[in-house]
């Protein structure tokens, strides 16, 4: 592989693990929300209740995304130092916040404090990845 191709693959793995980890969190949260909607008597075998089915579906999607993000993360760690890559993973908190406040199924309230928090994370990620040396092992 060319050096340019290898670099592109590293960035793609990093982006995939950040996005998949955020999607995993949002899907699992949605699964738990559906479970909350179901009455206690609906949690029974065989599963006929729509909320329980939705809960299982979203939790499974969340776990699958989580597993995929773990594999992508290992591919990241092959290529970058842990001290370079780990701070970037905090971007998934920002994605979770944007997703949780905008996904119609969740629509959690955005608050000024939380928005300031996500901006701090973004500033921190920028600062942490400012100095290079990431690609050496």
């Amino acid at each position: 592989m060319t050096a340019r191709g290898a670099r592109w693959l590293g960035v793609a793995c990093l982006a995939a693990s950040i996005v998949l980890s955020a999607l995993g969190q949002l899907a699992m949260k949605n699964g738990m929300r559906h479970l909350h909607l179901a009455g206690a008597d609906e949690i029974a075998w065989p599963i006929t209740s729509a909320p329980v089915r939705a809960a299982i579906f979203w939790t499974a999607v969340g776990l699958a995304a989580y597993g995929a993000s773990l594999v992508a993360w290992l591919a990241v760690l092959v290529r970058y130092r842990l001290s370079y890559a780990y701070p970037l993973l905090a971007l998934s908190y920002v994605l979770v916040y944007v997703g949780a406040t905008h996904w119609p199924q969740l629509l959690e309230p955005a608050t000024p404090t939380r928005t300031v928090g996500t901006l701090l994370i973004l500033a921190g990620v920028a600062l942490a990845s400012l100095t290079g040396g990431g690609s050496a092992r």
């Binding site: 092959v78 130092r81 842990l82 905090a90 921190g124 400012l130």
Partner: protein, 116 residues
């Protein structure tokens, strides 16, 4: 008691990152085939990393069930700092002052995001 369990979860999740890094460098570097990757997941380093993630996440969720997120999240932000210290002192990676400052901002941000 809950605080002790949360600290244990932070320790396990941080240890998992170090184990994943060691496993990736030792077992995955240069490997291309999916079968080689699956085999590597059973190496001592990566198997231990996965156990740490599963137990750490389980512990985290169990405590979260009984505690406010806003109280629990500052502990999670500790992970960022602990992983950075482990990279520096266990893995001997160079960590610049900028990076330490960035990590401090990230930890503060995570705490704010979880506050109500």
């Amino acid at each position: 008691m809950n605080d002790v369990l949360l600290l244990l979860a932070v320790a396990l999740l941080s240890a998992s990152q170090v184990l994943q890094k060691v496993g990736a460098t030792r077992r995955l570097a240069g490997k291309q085939k999916p079968a080689e990757w699956i085999a590597a997941l059973f190496s001592p380093e990566l198997a231990a990393a996965i156990v740490c993630i599963v137990v750490g996440t389980g512990l985290w969720l169990a405590v979260l069930y009984r505690m406010d997120v806003s109280r629990a999240f500052p502990f999670l932000s500790l992970t960022t700092v602990v992983v950075m210290a482990a990279s520096r002192f266990l893995l001997r990676e160079p960590v610049s002052l900028y990076r330490w400052a960035g990590v401090a901002l990230i930890a503060a941000g995570i705490t704010l995001v979880a506050s109500t």
